[in-house]
């Protein structure tokens, strides 16, 4: 896939003499040393990343980590000191003011932390602001702005003043204002951090929902790791102006790059980060109507050291048989029809089901079946795998099992791509 946005080795130095600071950075001096020696503040140092079309790229960092500076460089609100920022292969750090304005009008919109709604304009006028700046005629403006307001569910408030709305509603207006010009890229600078926790959850879900329809390229800034893990297709952890780690939510939680990231992810609810597909193993099954199915099932279980095995009927889950029951029935009583022995009331989950919703399914005592949207069995989840993933076994168990965990995670990782239809 072609990257929509490519950032190459971008630096931002605040101060009168950025060259000195850049030189000092080359010598490997820290942010604090540079501030003391040259009086220059390092905002962003040597950041590179790529964002593909339709992706949500989350930059997560604490205050002062340079994340707000970084996002403002993408649309030129803050000029970069050095490096290249390519939007559709066009370098915004080198284009003219006129061209930059055009990019801002048509390609890239922004949503702000404190909403930044114009208090003297109605909700509709606020949403239509970008369109007015572009020079759209009044009735087209109204039409498009109303459409954007409908998307965020606020069409009824078109003629209210922003001051009359609650915080969550104001940010919906901010989002609608960003969407009204139909930009390809949406920059969101901590859009939900000024909201109450419940409203924040609601907005996060709404953003994900909207994104499914709109498929924008989104750069999302946050200081909340849980928000980052929930929203991000890719997440960058930022510290002192540089990226510490870039990866998917699972990569960051599973294999933090250093102690800083590890400290962050330590108290993350892994049950929400990881999904069924991350712990599922390749299914070992027998076909229900096969001749000698019972004996084959027993052999398979012995071979793979399993206690239970799924029985399928043309790819679809038919039921599950436990080794002990099947062994008694088939080898001692001679009942070889799987249909009689198997349990048909089996726990079934989808690949996207988060681990913390697997508990109920796991309580049945059988491995959990993972099926795709057509009901085909695509994976089997052993209950132990769920627990080892939740406990983050790689870091807590002994050395050998730790390695095991890591390799297991790796194979699971490669399996993900096969099983999970993305």
């Amino acid at each position: 896939m072609k990257p929509k946005l490519r950032i190459e080795n971008v630096f931002k130095i605040f101060g009168e003499r950025p060259e000195e600071a850049l030189k000092a950075l080359e010598q490997g001096k820290s942010k604090l040393e540079i501030l003391e020696e040259t009086g220059q503040t390092v905002g962003v140092k040597g950041v590179s990343f790529e964002v593909n079309e339709g992706e949500i790229f989350v930059v997560m960092g604490l205050s002062g980590s340079g994340k707000s500076t970084l996002v403002r460089m993408l649309n030129g609100l803050i000029p970069a000191t050095s490096g290249r920022i390519l939007i559709d292969n066009e370098d915004v750090t080198r284009c003219s003011a006129e061209r930059l304005r055009n990019i801002r009008r048509n390609k890239i919109a922004m949503v702000f932390q404190h909403f930044a709604l114009f208090p003297h304009k109605t909700v509709l006028e606020n949403v239509a602001y970008g369109l007015k700046i572009k020079g759209e005629v009044a009735h087209r403006r109204r039409e498009k702005a109303l459409k954007a307001l409908e998307q965020v569910g606020l069409a009824a408030y078109a003629d209210s003043m922003p001051g009359e709305l609650s915080g969550g509603m104001q940010q919906r207006v901010g989002l609608a204002r960003g969407l009204a010009t139909d930009p390809e890229i949406l920059l969101m600078d901590e859009p939900f951090s000024a909201l109450d926790p419940l409203i924040r959850r609601e907005m996060q879900e709404e953003l994900l929902h909207l994104q499914k329809v709109l498929n924008k390229t989104i750069i999302f800034i946050t200081h909340d790791l849980n928000e980052a893990l929930l929203l991000g297709d890719k997440i960058a952890i930022m510290k002192d102006g540089a990226f510490v780690q870039v990866g998917t939510a699972q990569e960051i939680v599973d294999r933090p790059a250093d102690e800083y990231v590890a400290a962050f992810v330590a108290d993350v609810d892994r049950g929400r980060v990881f999904q069924a597909s991350h712990v599922a193993g390749r299914p070992v099954t027998v076909e229900q109507s096969e001749i000698g199915a019972a004996e084959k099932a027993l052999q398979l279980m012995e071979k793979h050291n399993r206690n239970a095995l799924y029985v399928v009927d043309k790819g679809k889950v038919a039921g599950v048989v436990a080794y002990q029951e099947l062994a008694v029935a088939a080898r001692e009583e001679g009942r070889t029809d799987l249909k009689e022995v198997m349990v048909t009331d089996v726990p079934v989950v989808h690949p996207e089901t988060p681990l913390n919703e697997l508990y109920a399914a796991a309580s049945a005592g059988y491995p959990i079946a993972m099926t795709d949207s057509h009901g085909r069995l695509v994976g089997v989840i052993e209950v132990e795998a769920v627990f080892s993933q939740l406990s983050g076994c790689a870091s807590e168990n002994g050395a050998t099992s730790g390695n095991e965990c890591a390799s297991q995670a790796k194979t699971q990782g490669s399996q993900d791509r096969n099983v999970q239809p993305r």
């Binding site: 649309n75 609100l77 304005r101 055009n102 990019i103 801002r104 009008r105 048509n106 919109a109 922004m110 702000f112 404190h114 930044a116 709604l117 114009f118 208090p119 003297h120 109605t122 509709l124 006028e125 239509a128 602001y129 970008g130 007015k132 700046i133 572009k134 009044a138 109204r142 078109a158 003629d159 003043m161 204002r177 010009t181 920059l187």
Partner: protein
């Protein structure tokens, strides 16, 4: 005793004398005379119009404006005060003063608001402008009356020019302040959507600074009114002249009557302009909507609002 004056003496009076008498007056008198032209034409127009309108019409207009901006109480006050002035026999003088004030405030606004915007956009401009404004505000007006007479002559227009010098600083300062105080995140938002400098100014900065600008206009108006007596010294007419001649002839009665007229006019204009500023703070409509609400019964303003959406 030794004092620095024993070493060096600075003949500042001679310098200024020679600067004004020998340089400015012979070389630039015609230039300064030409400067008067726009002031003269505006003043003549306003003055003629106000004197042409019957007393009842002026009273009615001002009362309606007061009612629409500041409310019933101020409207009743306006009606009574203007009737009172008419009964004291000072109506023509009041209209002359009003036209002087309107003309000087108009020029102050036309020059002061752009200057304030300019100062708000550049720290360097503000750095240069600030001491000049300080001098304009603090220097006693008698000091510049003489050079004004030498350069512009005597009469209404030089009086207005002296008034402009005195009354200009507040509107410049408050325009600058108002624009600088517009929230930085709103400026950033406007910029992020690709606004040009002008779009930013019209769409965001001026509407949001309007309340402060109106406060500046109010201050300018009050200063202009306080100058009418001093302007009478150099030949301006109106209520100021009534007070000034009353003073010269020890005619306490005439001076008091003129003084009361000035005070009443000041209160009416102050209440109306203040209310304009406050009205902005509540709903913060655009300048155009404010004007609409002034001259309509609210209907057109609402239609306009719907249209601009």
């Amino acid at each position: 005793m030794f004092s620095p004056a024993d070493l060096v003496q600075i003949p500042i009076d001679d310098w200024v004398n020679s600067l004004v008498r020998d340089f400015l007056v012979p070389n630039f008198r015609s230039f300064f005379r030409a400067l008067q032209a726009p002031v003269t034409s505006v003043l003549n127009w306003v003055d003629a119009f106000l004197h042409w309108l019957p007393m009842l019409a002026v009273t009615a207009i001002l009362t309606v404006i007061a009612d629409r901006t500041a409310g019933r109480g101020v409207a009743i006050f306006t009606l009574l005060a203007l009737s009172f002035i008419d009964m004291t026999g000072l109506w023509p003088e009041t209209m002359t003063t009003l036209s002087m004030v309107i003309t000087s405030v108009l020029f102050c606004a036309v020059m002061g608001i752009p200057l304030g915007i300019w100062a708000a956009r550049s720290d360097r401009v503000l750095f240069v402008m600030r001491p000049i404004l300080d001098i304009m505000q603090t220097i006693p007006s008698f000091v510049y009356l003489v050079p004004i007479v030498m350069l512009f002559g005597v009469g209404m227009v030089p009086g207005i020019i002296a008034t402009i010098i005195f009354a200009l600083p507040p509107i410049v300062r408050l325009t600058n302040l108002g624009i600088r105080n517009v929230r930085a995140d709103l400026i950033e938002a406007a910029e992020a959507f690709g606004s040009t400098g002008w779009q930013m100014l019209w769409e965001v900065q001026i509407p949001l600074a309007l309340r402060t600008i109106m406060a500046g206009l109010n201050q300018t108006l009050m200063l202009a009114l306080s100058m009418v007596v001093i302007a009478a010294l150099i030949g301006a007419g109106g209520l100021g002249l009534t007070v000034y001649t009353g003073l010269g002839r020890l005619n306490v009665g005439a001076a008091t009557a003129g003084g009361i007229g000035i005070v009443l006019l000041a209160i009416i204009l102050d209440r109306i302009t203040q209310a304009l500023g406050e009205k902005n703070s509540e709903t913060a409509p655009s300048l155009w909507q404010t004007l609409c609400s002034l001259f309509s019964w609210g209907l057109e303003a609402k239609q306009e609002k719907d249209k601009t959406a």
